[in-house]
């Protein structure tokens, strides 16, 4: 047997900084580079060209696509809708998620059941979430209309998802429903890591429950909230599948999020270059959004700690 001397073996595998053959990377890195780094770089480049589906070659046109964007009403409308959607869903998820997490942390009846139920929407694919809510919103077969009629709030069924006023709020409600489970789970874990003694000490000092929440719980939860907010902003700004299944951007573009506009430009009209430029605009705007949230909140956390 070819026994290796201990020193040599240690040279190979010592102290967790072993000399492991570097080529073990190849099976992972080669596909990642070929099928996601390269296409991404190409996609970024396409944003600066005039490429359309089936064209012979792409001609570099500099910032023309972005100039066109500034004069494109569809672009402004989709980004405006994108902002409303992103902020409403994120805020809804944060506020409701925190409320629900605190309820789940408060030793109430049905708590075990509730903790399991909270997870279920999470397990459901976006397409099915969309279909499910179409069934809830449907004018004649949906539960919501029948309930509203029954209570007497409305006289005629509303086709909620085809209604110019109600489509966006209805879609936002589904967005919140979708994001709630994950945020709640993360918040609940954060709440459970806060020592009870801290709250009890504050209570002994005469603080009411609101004060405990405002001055003990919230500051300690800030990092978790910021992380969740940043992720939610990013995901929601780039959202596609859920709204595609719910409304396909309609009625009359009133729920056409930026990604739906880009998808339409690319695959209905073949304007690949313009769609890529839209994608780049999404990255830039989304990046700025997240940067401001993270920066402000960390500044806030710092001040909280100092105070």
């Amino acid at each position: 047997m070819n026994r290796v001397s201990p020193t040599k073996a240690r040279a190979r595998l010592g102290d967790g900084r072993a000399i492991v053959p570097w080529w073990l990377f190849l099976p992972s890195v080669v596909p990642i580079v070929l099928f996601s780094v390269v296409p991404l770089l190409q996609g970024i480049y396409l944003g600066f060209t005039d490429y359309t589906l089936g064209a012979e070659r792409a001609r570099f046109v500099g910032l023309d696509n972005f100039a066109r964007m500034l004069g494109d009403a569809a672009f402004w409308s989709s980004f405006r809708i994108g902002f409303i959607w992103t902020f409403s869903v994120t805020l809804g998820v944060l506020v409701l998620g925190m409320t629900l997490a605190m309820l789940l942390n408060a030793r109430l009846p049905f708590q075990g059941l509730a903790r399991v139920l909270v997870l279920i929407p999470w397990a459901i694919p976006p397409v099915i979430k969309g279909l499910m809510w179409r069934m809830v919103y449907h004018p004649s077969a949906g539960f919501l209309n029948q309930w509203l009629l029954g209570v007497g709030l409305i006289q005629f069924p509303i086709n909620i998802l085809s209604d110019f006023t109600w489509a966006l709020p209805a879609v936002i409600a589904v967005g919140i429903w979708t994001g709630l489970p994950q945020a709640t789970v993360v918040f609940l874990a954060g709440l459970q890591s806060i020592p009870d003694e801290l709250k009890e000490a504050a209570m002994l000092d005469g603080a009411g429950s609101w004060h405990v929440f405002r001055h003990v719980t919230l500051p300690l939860m800030t990092p978790v909230i910021v992380a969740t907010a940043a992720l939610e902003l990013m995901w929601n700004f780039n959202a596609f599948g859920l709204v595609y299944v719910l409304t396909e951007g309609g009625p009359a573009g009133s729920t056409k999020l930026p990604m739906l506009l880009a998808y339409e430009e690319a695959f209905s009209f073949g304007n690949i270059a313009y769609a890529s430029a839209l994608g780049l605009a999404l990255v830039v705007v989304g990046g700025v959004l997240v940067y401001f949230v993270v920066r402000n909140q960390y500044a806030g956390a710092g001040a909280g700690r100092a105070g």
Binding site: V38, M135, A266
Partner: protein, 282 residues
């Protein structure tokens, strides 16, 4: 005074319980409605004031979904694609994950950066060039092409999960084996793999669920009706808006939820901790 305090406390708890119930109703209701619709005969769907539960439950919707809408065919496609994606991702990721765990280097940072980048970039930027590359390779409108996309797309996060599991295995075990003359491949096959099995299963299930639920790539990459995945075929149901279609659509949707729901039930704790690791840094 004391009594008043108690009463207030009780009232607060009662209010909170009511609020919790409202949350449960909001979260669970659409799922209850979907399930009930799946078992309702056509006549009961769309009645004014329909019952929450079907009066005469029927399995007919499932029969229609399978026979007329090819739900079984697309479920089989989805299963095949998801299983292949999970297995291939693990095979490809394992060597690199081992390297990441045992040899701290700049690659660790590179992987982290790539995870963040791939979360930030909208898929629209990548989909067209990827489509062109795959059509050049003749892989558009094939299951192999979609599997390739899923493997590449889940690799960064899978690498990160797996290297965590590897790091939990004491390096001394490997040192001992190396002293006895085992080659790196021997060490990987005989020592790391058996200890890593739970981690491999968790990571594999994560990839499986991702592939099973994915919609955007599948929508763009697969064109032939007999190749499409469950998500795409159910989304296409949508065009036909007649009430008669709701039952089979609900039945098909239930079929599409079952595997992910099972995985979630099995993996509840692990998935939760995985999300925590992903969203709250250390």
């Amino acid at each position: 005074m004391r009594l008043g305090h108690r009463l207030r406390h009780r009232l607060a708890r009662f209010g909170m319980s009511l609020l919790l119930l409202a949350f449960i109703a909001f979260l669970a209701f659409p799922i209850v409605w979907l399930t009930s619709t799946a078992f309702k005969p056509p006549g009961e769907i769309g009645l004014q004031n329909p019952a929450l539960l079907p009066q005469q439950p029927t399995l007919d919707n499932f029969r229609v979904a399978v026979e007329e809408n090819g739900v079984l065919r697309s479920a089989y496609n989805t299963l095949k694609i998801s299983v292949l994606s999970a297995v291939l991702t693990l095979l490809v990721a394992l060597p690199a994950a081992y390297l990441l765990a045992r040899r701290r280097s700049r690659m660790n940072q590179a992987v982290t950066v790539w995870i963040l980048v791939s979360q930030t970039f909208p898929l629209i930027l990548i989909i067209v060039p990827l489509f062109l590359i795959l059509s050049w390779l003749g892989l558009v409108n094939t299951h192999a092409g979609l599997v390739l996309v899923y493997v590449v797309w889940s690799l960064p996060f899978v690498l990160w999960m797996l290297q965590g599991y590897v790091r939990a295995i004491p390096v001394q075990l490997e040192e001992a084996a190396a002293v006895d003359g085992a080659s790196p491949l021997d060490i990987l096959a005989r020592i790391i793999l058996p200890l890593l099995l739970p981690g491999l299963i968790a990571t594999g299930l994560y990839t499986f669920v991702n592939a099973w639920n994915e919609f955007f790539f599948a929508l763009v990459m697969l064109k032939s009706p007999d190749l499409v995945t469950l998500q795409v075929s159910l989304a296409r149901f949508r065009g036909i808006e007649g009430l008669a279609r709701w039952g089979p659509l609900a039945a098909g949707s239930l079929i599409a939820i079952v595997p992910t729901l099972l995985v979630f039930a099995l993996m509840q704790r692990r998935l939760v901790s995985g999300v925590l690791a992903g969203s709250v840094k250390e």
